[in-house]
């Protein structure tokens, strides 16, 4: 059981490594990997693909700044967050916006598993503790 899991993880990691071009995720490579798996299905294709998906999702999230905010947000803000985060992490980062009315005001930026928070809702939550 555990040995199987290890094999699945290992194969998923190999597939993931093949999906990178110059250290970043390439849509073309991912398509190639999927095609390969389709043609040469491993022992547990479902488990391998799920593990592969997780690795790709983590990598994908690393290159994205998801900006949650209440109300409209201009392009200028996204661009400035993009450049600030790219400087901070030393890798290209694409900012995307996501509406989150629950924040009241301010915003929350998520890059990978880091979260930057300066929302009013968060500060209120902090006060109520």
């Amino acid at each position: 059981m555990a040995a199987h899991q290890k094999q699945v993880q290992q194969l998923a990691r190999q597939l993931f490594a093949m999906s990178l071009a110059d250290g970043s995720l390439s849509a073309e490579r991912v398509a190639g990997v999927l095609e390969y798996v389709e043609k040469n299905p491993p022992a547990q294709p479902m488990a391998v693909l799920l593990a592969y998906r997780r690795l790709v999702a983590v990598e994908f999230a690393r290159g994205r700044a998801v900006v949650e905010h209440a109300g409209p947000l201009g392009q200028g803000v996204l661009a400035s967050i993009e450049s600030a985060m790219a400087r901070r992490y030393g890798r290209p980062i694409v900012a995307v916006s996501k509406d989150a009315p629950g924040l009241l005001a301010g915003m929350r930026v998520r890059v990978g598993d880091d979260v930057y928070e300066s929302s009013v809702a968060n500060q209120l939550a902090g006060l109520s503790v």
């Binding site: 990978g112 979260v115 930057y116 300066s118």
Partner: protein, 508 residues
Amino acid sequence: MSTVLEQIEQQIARLSSKAVRKNTGVIRTVADGVAKIDGLSDVVYNEMVQFPGGAIGIALNLEQDEVGCVVLGDISKLKEGDEVQTTGKLLSIPVGKGLLGRVVDALGNPVDGKGPIASTETYPVEKIAPGIIVRKSVSQPLFTGIMAIDSMIPIGRGQRELIIGDRGTGKTTIAIDTIINQAKINKVGLASGDKNFRPVYSIYVAIGQKNSNIVRTIGALEAAGALEFTVIVAAPAADNPANQYLAPYSGAAVGEWFMENGMDALIVYDDLSKHAVAYRQISLILKRPSGREAYPGDVFYLHSRLLERAARLDGKGSLTALPIIETLAGDVSAYIPTNVISITDGQIFLETDLFNQGIRPAVSVGLSVSRVGSSAQIKATKQVGGKLKGELAQFRELAAFAQFGSDLDAKTKGQLDRGARIVELFKQPAFSPVPIEQQVVTLWAMQKGYYDDLDIKKVTAAAVSLRDFFSTRKDALLTEIRTKAALDKDLEAKIKTAVDEWKSSFAA
């Protein structure tokens, strides 16, 4: 209009660069007190993580694609997909004198219904043990109040002495007696106004015990007036394994605070067998590879890093540890017992046979040792009890031999008789530690043959009577023995006069 908005938003964006950064993760699975978490890429080993709803966890397994955390507190509200945050802090608990007289859980929360703990300081639960340079060798005694131990297996401050034996052989009782004795000594010492007096504060860590047992122990401490010098850290059997795993380290943190602040403390871990079982449970759920008796490979480190925290520090205080281990059918060669024996500075071995024969405390003198304590023993005890261990060993040998033949020469008979009297002398009921000066008197009378003409069955009672006589009528002499801590001609003469006086009244 939109440019105005943009300006405001730019301002917000600048603010957001001052925003707090948190590293987060998402619960993937949660079961049996352990949560597996995706993310948390910044977490460090043993770091505290925050779950929604106030529960906290400790990161114990850092793997390539998941983090395994033990959850402290209510696990029932956690579910898959919940967000988890790192805190950047190692687990700390409240410490200080405000905990004395209190019962707390593994996180330092009061569980005795006496309100919040008066404490302003916290101390990390896991800490690297003091290094070699700052340690001092053991040289100050820690009296257990149990005659067999103080005279033959003496313990010093900063020592780690294991109490080991089967179920129900009186392990807990010895530890509690020792705590009660510290409280008694503290009261006398603090009342004497002696500036150099160093009280000993006690910490009793109950791991995996039934609540009823813990309540009984607390009751015994309270009845003896010892609770006010004692902190109780309780992780009962009904508590989740994470809390049971943590409790000894929490207790050690409380004790270390005393040590680091120039005071002396005593800590009892009751017991480390159950602690190892709790750790095994956690490790199996974390899918760590298991080895001998299904314990994980680092179970040795589990206890060595705990017991290494007991020490005597140069220019500071000391922490003495009395870990307890339960054996099965007296088997000290099982995995956990051998581990802990090798980490400690000696062991007090309790035997079921002795216990059942009514020899209580059931200390097996032959199998018990104290590797460092003799340098801490006071001279008076050495003077009156120095030969006892040898005599008892000889007695056991002869007693085994005597079973085969009835033709014993007078000398052998004499040795057997004396040995039997020593065994009787060391019998002591639970929760009644004997002060060291009283021990000296009791043993002095033995050495001088005052019990030799008594019926063997009366020796225990005679010793009790002698001590009663001294405590009611010879208080000044007792104080003199205690403060001098060594017998000279003059003092011995005084003891002789007093014991003669007692003897005539006792025989009459």
